[in-house]
Amino acid sequence: MRVAPIPRLIVTRLALSVLSLFVVSLIVFSAVELLPGDTAERILGREATKESLAALRTQLRLSDPAPERYARWLGGIVQGDFGRSLVADRPVFSYIAGYLGRTLLLGGLALLIHIPLSIGLGLLAAARPDGASDLALSAAVLIGMSIPEFVVGIFLIMLLANDLQLFPPLALIDQAKSFGDVIHMLALPVITLNFAMTAYVVRQTRNSMIEVLKSDYVRMASLRGLSPLRVLFVHALPNALSPAINAIALNASWLVGGIVVVEVVFNYPGLGRLLVESIRFHDVPMIQGAALALSAAYIAVNLVADIATLLLNPKLRTRTA
């Protein structure tokens, strides 16, 4: 019996992801419980008095037992209610939507450059393995990856924004008057992110392309007299892409949650920053919401990558169940 592998993959993954999200929420909740201090202390700050702390704790129901608070939160989630942020005293959902949206915008733009750029560079490197261009490229992308994003970001701000004045230094997208302005403001963070992401994908593409080009079927294709371009793009590339896609998927999941440093340098309010700030305030519902959004995005990215791999690889696609 043949089951279409892609729908099956999607269904299994979605089922598993519900379970993963539940586990994630439990772990995150317990981790926050273990942190010293509480939300009331963080909200009122150093100058708080005992009386005001006590009043706020009562108001936020912080003295309820932890399992009770978790159950209350979970009960809400099941009904699609993400709860209220303890600190903002507003629905968590409105924040997650806004912050996730901005993260996806920045991440999406970065990927838009990242995918063709790194694969292109990988192909270029594979064209003449160990030639001068290959070595120079490898060295360049490795250096780009090794410098912390923070340093790259500040350097780009000084060079491209303050000295050459090509771009605005910070991504203050609220000041944008058109979508073109938004792109212009996001240019520096996008470049910074690409510095960090390129090396790995270039290496993967280069290595697997070299392998594939040596394989019998590619030689066969050439011997059959197909044009070199056709051999390269139609026969060799799809097979060489699988490792690159996995590397890109890794980068994509990093883009969703791990780019706090870049967000801070360019003053861009993304999900990573929301999460870090919420942890600082022990804002459990907000942390949970952000963590769930991150995990969901992570699962989605990997699902997309797997589907892409399947589509590119006829062997996997047609295997019988």
Partner: protein, 515 residues
């Protein structure tokens, strides 16, 4: 089957589409204003408060909160640069004989943002809500002498505070408490804040940057404010904040780092401003714990410090040396004496007399929770070594420092924001103070403060506060080493702003932007 070879392309197209769609939906792109018509002042704070942000003067604890409240609300009085009170919504005030009843005359003709007149009712409402159990305001504890039931409107423009006890510096006590329009809910005050300030809220959602404000057309100072609109945002990363000013993305901020300013000093599009403040940095030792329980050891610790060197190392020279007491000489009632000089021999001698001929070993806690705290620990450690004070530094996590280390460890690096004489002395040093970080119990000191608080005569009161400063200086457990300057900066086309030494007292009423 499927035409799989195209998927790569279509996915990319999809991403681009999503980005474009997402972009336009997420950022309500501001309508382009008539060119040149609207003058917007763009302010950046170095502190971020994220979703915690509020306009409510009952809660505001950090810089952006204070900036928001300062734009939208006004107090009865305000502090000038020497921390003396000046009229604001009140034009005059006077106490009864012992300072237990205070009467404020309110400014006539003041209008709230919604056009309604400002009266005594609003003052009463604004103070009473601080004591409402449903409003856990950290201010309530400081305002304990106020009896919320005994704030009375004598007439529409006269308010009387009948206090539980005499407070001769009552205006100083309430300067930071702003007046909000009566009848607003906490949520309204938090985000929509109807006040009498020069600007009214255009848009403020906690956690969404920036918050924006537009001019209050009926503001009581004629011809003010000088700009039409204010944008306030946080840019916590220092390098980013400076880059934004240099490239013109923001116009003004009040908290530059004290080191590494050369580049800005040379930029002719930028104007730097410095203000002396009484924000102090120092060390606090528990005076009931060995070895700090011996006053000779405390004095030795103080004598081991080379303050001029610390000033350069910790603040890059942007500040003043302090003399182990918290009231700076330029603050009202501050002791005008010369700071202690380093005296290693004397310090050694005192340690030996106290029974430590071989010196002492102590553990000092610090953290990166404030600028210069780690540098201070390191620099002091090096200086104290010569006197036989061997310090091991324990750098604690910055996040928890003020809740888990401060008040909980016997020897720490500490810092206090600038305050008037009474608050600067009483809050850390009164025996029963909640924040007695040195565990210092000195009856003579307590008596001096309480007596000063009952002394209406200003000259006599000053003498009492100065005697109290001497006690802290010579016997207290705090090494008050440095007062840090505040440094602010504006674009060169911003006029009329003067950096206030107290962050929360910045005013933008007089600011104009020239073309």
């Amino acid at each position: 089957m499927t035409n799989q070879t195209r998927t790569g392309v279509s996915r990319r197209t999809l991403l681009a589409g999503a980005a474009v769609l997402g972009g336009s939906a997420l950022f309500p792109i501001e309508q382009v204003k008539a060119a040149g018509g609207i003058k917007t002042l763009r302010i950046a704070s170095g502190e971020a408060d994220g979703v915690k942000g509020t306009l409510d003067p009952a809660y505001g604890t950090n810089d952006p909160d204070a900036a928001r409240a300062g734009l939208v609300f006004e107090g009865l009085v305000k502090l000038d640069e020497a921390f003396a009170v000046q009229p604001s919504l009140a034009t005059a005030w006077k106490p009864n004989d012992d300072g237990s009843v205070w009467t404020f005359n309110l400014r006539p003709g003041v209008k709230f943002h919604d056009g309604s007149p400002f009266t005594a009712t609003d003052v009463i409402f604004s103070f009473r809500r601080l004591f409402d159990p449903k409003t856990p305001s950290p201010s309530a504890a400081w305002l304990a002498p106020i009896d919320p039931e005994n704030i009375k409107a004598v007439d529409d423009l006269t308010v009387e505070f009948k206090l539980r006890e005499p407070v001769v510096e009552f205006p100083e006590l309430i300067y930071s408490h702003k007046v909000v329009k009566a009848g607003q809910t906490n949520e309204q005050v938090r985000t929509a804040g109807i006040g009498t300030g020069a600007f009214k809220v255009e848009r403020f959602v906690p956690g969404e940057e920036p918050s924006t404000y537009v001019r209050h057309d009926q503001y009581w100072q004629p011809g003010k404010p000088g700009v039409d609109r204010v944008e306030l945002r946080s840019i916590p990363e220092e390098a980013a904040r400076i880059a934004a000013l240099v490239s013109g993305q923001v116009d003004l901020f009040w908290d530059l780092p004290l080191r590494g300013l050369t580049r800005l000093e040379q930029d002719k599009n930028i104007v730097l401003q410095t203000a002396k403040t009484s924000f102090w940095l120092g060390l606090a030792a528990w005076t009931d714990t060995k070895p700090f329980d011996d006053p000779r050891v405390r004095l030795a610790l103080k004598l081991a410090a080379n303050r001029d060197q610390l000033l350069k190392a910790v603040l890059g020279g942007h500040g003043s040396v302090a003399n182990d007491q918290p009231v700076a000489p330029w603050i009202k009632f501050g002791l005008p004496d010369e700071p202690r000089k380093q005296d290693i021999e004397q310090a050694k001698k005192l340690l030996a007399e106290a029974g430590y001929p071989d010196g002492i070993d102590v553990e000092l806690y610090t953290s990166a929770s404030g600028s210069g705290l780690v540098e201070l620990a390191t620099a002091y450690k090096a200086q104290a070594e010569a006197a036989g004070i061997r310090i091991s530094i324990n750098q604690a996590p910055a996040e928890d420092y003020w809740s888990n280390i401060w008040l909980k460890k016997p020897f720490i690096v500490t810092a206090w924001s600038g305050k008037g004489a009474d608050a600067a002395l009483a809050r850390p040093f009164l025996s029963d103070a909640e924040w007695n970080e040195t565990h210092w119990h000195n009856d003579a000191f307590d008596k001096l403060i309480l007596e000063a608080r009952r002394t209406i005569d200003e000259k006599k009161r000053g003498e009492l506060y100065q005697k109290a400063q001497e006690l802290v200086r010579d016997d207290g457990g705090a090494l008050i080493l440095l007062f840090a300057d505040a440094i602010g900066a504006t674009r060169a086309n911003v006029r009329g702003w003067k950096l206030h030494p107290q962050k929360l007292s910045q005013s933008y009423v007089d600011v104009t932007i020239v073309d």
